[in-house]
Amino acid sequence: MVITSIDHPFDDVTPAVWTRDLVRKFGKKNAVDGLDLSIRPGEFYGLLGQNGAGKTTTIRMIVGLLRPTSGSTGIGEFDTWKSPLEVKKRIGVLPEEFNLYERLTGAELLDFTAAMHDVPKKEAVARRDDLLAMLDLEADAGKLVGDYSRGMRKKVALAAAIIARPPVLFLDEPFEGVDAVSARLIRRLLSRYTELGATIVFSSHEMHLVEKLCTRIGIMSHGKLLVEDTPAGLCRRMGVETVEDAFIAAVGGEDEEKKSLPWFESSPA
């Protein structure tokens, strides 16, 4: 699949993705607590955090699926809550695999998504066929998404997220369950995509991938952004070798590692 440059609407000053003093409360708990994000066009941004750190909540607010308690979010010059349509025209979202239309076939899901993004029909069909072939889904294109394996769902969801070539992509665990061959293809494709000017917000627990792909990393904990830097800068700052170690150091995981279960440390019954 050949990708030419991205027609993104962002200048060098306006961030491609931003949040300002973003807060989301669930009951008394602050899932996101005064978050300020500013992601520049062309960045491959890794949003990291432990489970419940607020990553998915943040992404859902930026794309307009969850209302913030306070603060604002946006894409480029557009505020998510003032110009939702303009924001959605510029984003591709990799949904959780069970949020897809299970009773559309893989090909139909891609056509539907392309059509909603107003991709011309001929172009959409060509892109769909390319994506299906590249992701090794050609033989299963006529199968219902509900009948796909987990990895296949991830792949078709990723294809749906990129079929309209949006300038901003939100990818939540895109490689979970995807086979090694496809994963390598996708990685290459995404890296190339950011080189051409697209912005990718990437959330994953696979630290080696984050280290390999991301140009900048933000680590969240308890709804706050703890630290933000390039992978190398992050390692330097934390005085460690790898992003995984930097992450563990940032979220205080070293203390967690000291915890033990005495009853678990005897031979199984």
Partner: protein, 531 residues
Amino acid sequence: MVRELASLKARLFWNGIRADRQRRIGLPLIAALVGWLSWTLATRHADHLSTLSGAARSEYLAWAALIVFVAWVALPVVVFPLDENLDAQQLATLPIPRPRLVAGLIAAAVISVPIIALVALVGTTVAYRPSALLVSLPAGAVFVVMAIAGSQGFTTVMSAVLHSRRGRDLAVFVIMGIGLASFSGYQLVRTTVAEMGVAAAAVAHPLDSLWWLVPPVAPAHAISAAWDGRWVTAVVALVVAAIWTLLIVAGWERVLRWLLVTPRQESAPASARRKVGFSRGRWEVPFIVARKELRFYLRDPRQRLVWTGTVIFVGLAIAAIVVGSAGLARFQDRHWLPMVAPVLVLMVGLPIALNQFGWERNAASYLFALPARPRAVIMGKNLAATTGLLLETLFLGSLLSWFSSSWRWMPLLLPVAIGAIGCLLAVGNIVSILAPLRLPREGTDMFAQATEQGLLALVSQVVSFFTIGLLLVLPASVTVLTVDFGQVVSPWIAGAFAVGWGAFWYGLSLGVSGWLLHRRVPEVVGWVQVY
């Protein structure tokens, strides 16, 4: 383990109320409604018990037991779920012996709102003669367990049917058959009772003598025998009832065992025949959404079931005529009969029209992340619903025209249907945005649904149906003046008025609902999402 599962259900029930505002509001309303219904049924039941005596009372009790049992078993599948089942699939990996699992599921099923009705009826029966408590109390308990096990077993069997591709294809017909049988049975009972009275009808159609053969009649027979002082018969009947209950439970356990270890059959061969691709024709958002919706009408078993509702209605009417009990045959020579089609179709369209975003389930978050104006999405959904409803109106109208040999009103049928659909969607769009209902995620047990959600669906449909009815008074009156009063109003004017009226309310509602949805996307997504 039984206690653990019961408390799990109680915890889920309580957490559901705590976490969900809709449930907090809905549950007391539903409990009050079910309580009132239970009270009404129980007092009528008590009246019958006290006015009848001897054989008539025994026969009445046998019939009452059978009807309650059949209703308890069939209603969750045909109309709406009565109970939020614990998902046995989620418990499958735990080391729970299956007999205990089944016992736990039965105990857990007691913690629900509709159980009030069952307990009220059984309680009234048991309390009728305190002197027979020694038998009537265990017999009542056996009956409750039998009804719960029967109901859960039956929904498990239906889930097993849906487990296979062939089963999914046949499910509509299976459920239609159950609906037909239930309705025909109801009609038979209703008309017989109306003609003969409860006592004579019960005596004329003896059932009590078959107590050993018909499971739910056995506990009823035990109670009747105890009331008459025939203690040996009562105890024998109680033992037979217990054996029947164990057999039902064992049957359920076997189906459950099969279901838990058999992978869901994929529909690859069927779907592989589908053409690759989606795009054809215009690209505008309403058309794209409509095309997607129409595909779901055909592919989603639950939606398919809703859409075949019309067929069920017609089937019911024909069945009633065939059994000759409902007196519907007299409608055969009514020239206005085809005009009934839009009314029937409206009822069928209610579950779709009033919960348009609930049917999206988790995919709502996918849909609303796409760049489409909320109003265009609503229009797309409305377009699909209108297409389906108009096709059904035409089909049903033609069938009724043929049945009544009256084709003269066919040209008026479509404009009246358009007006009616306009009013239906006008109400439906607003309700869909303000009170969407959560449906089970695709691929999971299609009958599992929160109790109050299932009942709330019924309540919201009834209330909305009255609102729609109110909107339809004027065009319906004009149509009646045209059809049944020698064309006081010209059919052209009646048709144009119906279309104009429907278009007015639809247009008004579309503006409001587009504005509402624009502001409520996160709330709608949050409500319909199943985790």
